[in-house]
């Protein structure tokens, strides 16, 4: 590149220094996570070694196995995957369908109803949890998976996001499909959904993560944690019971981080666009 050819030595030096400093900052930033992995692999009793050391006298993979024998951690993971998976499916289906209705169909009351949808975005979860608890009791859903999935599966946010994508589909495409005799269902499935694939993907990943990380609501709803607890709830219980067993707590924390980390790596390319265009995810 011409710019590189013109770059003088001090300038290049500056760039190298900037990168080295940046790497140092990143390492410092990641230290808590590195520290968690390191502690999870140390023998018990070496957590508070002084001076602090990341490497213990032994690398104990056994700690991770112990997490699963102390508490039914596999159960938390399966529960978490199930709740987040089912919740994500409901969110995607309901949002995509209503987004299509708001973006492409003509019907009475559409625009005013959409305003109501937008208004619900303002309501914080905390206002809803107290009455929602009563509602769940009426439904007989206290301490159930359904209570973790459905109350938060109808968000205006997904509708809003997907509607924006559907509106970008040219009207001529609709009209052509209609001329060919395609009904709304066919147009939705064959034209709209494939067009919105990137948006659906980003929405799916962030919805899944939000369900997976959710803490306040499961804390209120779930009594039998060993049966129906999700990972954050199980973590908290585990921590309460084994608070002094830091090496195991760290192993549990590391395990709970893995699925979200994998999703982040998978999402990586769409991350910036997803957040910049929609303000999605991450609380």
């Amino acid at each position: 590149m011409t710019i590189d050819a013109k770059t003088s030595t001090p300038r290049r030096l500056k760039r190298i220094v900037s990168h080295v400093l940046l790497a140092a900052v990143a390492l410092l930033f990641l230290y808590p996570l590195i520290f968690a992995v390191a502690t999870a692999l140390k023998p018990p009793g070496e957590t508070f070694a002084s001076p602090p050391s990341l490497i213990g006298s032994d690398v104990r993979w056994q700690n991770f196995a112990d997490v699963f024998t102390y508490v039914p951690f596999h159960r938390y993971i399966l529960n978490g995957l199930f709740v987040a998976g089912a919740g994500t499916l409901v969110v995607l289906a309901a949002s995509a369908m209503s987004a299509y209705a708001f973006a492409s169909l003509r019907w009475k009351g559409r625009d005013s109803l959409f305003l109501v949808f937008l208004a619900t975005l303002m309501v914080p979860q905390e206002v809803l949890v107290v009455p929602m608890f009563l509602l769940m009791r009426e439904f007989g859903w206290v301490d159930s998976y359904a209570s973790l999935i459905f109350p938060w599966a109808f968000t205006a946010f997904g509708t809003f996001l997907l509607r924006q994508f559907f509106r970008a589909v040219p009207y001529e495409l609709h009209e052509a499909a209609r001329m060919d005799g395609a009904g709304p269902i066919r147009i939705f499935l064959r034209i709209m959904l494939p067009m919105a694939k990137p948006a659906l993907g980003v929405l799916a990943v962030f919805t899944f993560i939000n369900f997976w990380n959710s803490f306040l609501w499961p804390l209120i709803m779930i009594n039998d944690v060993s049966e129906r607890g999700t990972v954050p709830l199980g973590m908290q219980l585990f921590f309460g019971q084994n608070g002094n067993q830091w090496h195991l707590v760290m192993a549990a924390a590391v395990v709970s981080v893995v699925p979200t980390l994998l999703l982040l790596i998978a999402l990586q390319k769409h991350l910036v666009k997803g957040i910049a265009t929609a303000g999605l995810g991450g609380r």
């Binding site: 930033f29 502690t39 169909l105 109808f154 924390a253």
Partner: protein
């Protein structure tokens, strides 16, 4: 593909019409479309009505009642609110703590995110840095908090390095009233700024090259370029980030719940913790609903203030 955006919503478009622009009223096709629209919008409308609109209305009613978890509710009028602002020994403190948290967390979050966004954007590996700094933003908050709890123990890593590098004998971070809330803030900034980093980073990438070039030709460099050119150019992103961060920080719960359980005393108790305790530990659902409404009112006020104030500093015209 058009890029929709929450910060600059697309202008409302009139309902799509036939190619001739004629509106055929009550034709059979139109009525069929009305029905299929009900089918498509139905699940969301019912779900949102049942799980959002109904609870919101219900929360208003509940806040006016003494509503025990078991037993019959009795009407109180505004007594719940009077109690919260008058007799409740914790609510005022929780309110104050939440404001202090927000006052520290939001500026720190924005400054760190902004500084790093500018820094990494010069880098060839910008994408790698973005992903790295975003990690704690999507890992479970409970896990993040538990890790920091260990680091902040009296004989933990932070205390050791504070002593060995700076020669300061560290307080018991989480149990000392002077440092507990600060520790919660520190952990939260570490956890949360990656999100705004990405928002800012995208905004920097979208700065129009011709404006930056014009500024360069005019001799604007360094701090002057930042204040007079770059910052105004990214003010919509700034507005979005501060508004969202303000809202979420008023709702802080998990970090203090895990790190300090609100202690020592009630030094780190927050509004949402207060709501949770009132409703699900003291089992006074009416009081919890009142607390939640106060939180909602504050969030609405802050958001309204942001929107009213944006004219002064947010520039959408570039």
């Amino acid at each position: 593909m058009a890029t929709p955006s929450l910060t600059t919503p697309a202008p409302p478009r009139p309902a799509p019409r036939g190619p001739a622009g004629k509106r055929r009223r009550k034709s059979p096709g139109r009525r069929a479309e009305q029905w299929s629209a009900f089918g498509f919008a139905g699940p969301s409308v019912i779900g949102l009505g049942l799980f959002t609109l109904f609870p919101v209305a219900m929360a208003v009613v509940m806040s006016l009642f003494n509503w025990p978890m078991l037993g019959d509710p009795t009407f109180l009028g505004l007594d719940n609110f009077k109690y919260l602002f008058g007799e409740d020994p914790n609510f005022g403190v929780a309110l104050r703590n939440t404001f202090i948290f927000t006052g520290l967390y939001v500026p720190l979050n924005i400054i760190v995110a902004l500084a790093l966004a500018f820094w990494i954007n010069n880098s060839r590996y910008a994408q790698l840095w973005r992903v790295l700094f975003f990690i704690p933003a999507i890992t479970p908050m409970v896990a993040n908090a538990v890790i920091w709890k260990l680091l902040l123990q009296p004989d933990g890593t932070f205390a050791y390095y504070l002593d060995s590098i700076f020669g300061i004998s560290a307080p018991n971070f989480l149990a000392d009233g002077r440092t507990a809330l600060l520790s919660v803030v520190a952990m939260s900034v570490w956890q949360g700024f990656g999100y705004n980093l990405i928002v800012f980073s995208a905004a920097i990438n979208e700065m129009p090259a011709n404006v930056l070039e014009a500024a360069r030709l005019d001799g604007a460099t360094g701090l002057r370029k930042f204040w007079s050119v770059q910052l105004p150019l990214m003010s919509p992103a700034m507005f979005f980030a501060t508004t969202m961060t303000l809202i979420t920080s008023m709702q802080v719960f998990t970090q203090p719940y895990i790190l300090t359980a609100g202690g020592p005393g009630n030094a780190t108790e927050t509004l949402v913790m207060n709501v949770y305790q009132a409703g699900f530990q003291s089992r006074d659902l009416g009081l919890a609903a009142s607390g939640a409404w106060i939180l909602f009112a504050i969030i609405l006020l802050i958001t309204a203030g942001q929107f009213l104030g944006q004219k002064k500093w947010v520039h959408y015209d570039h």
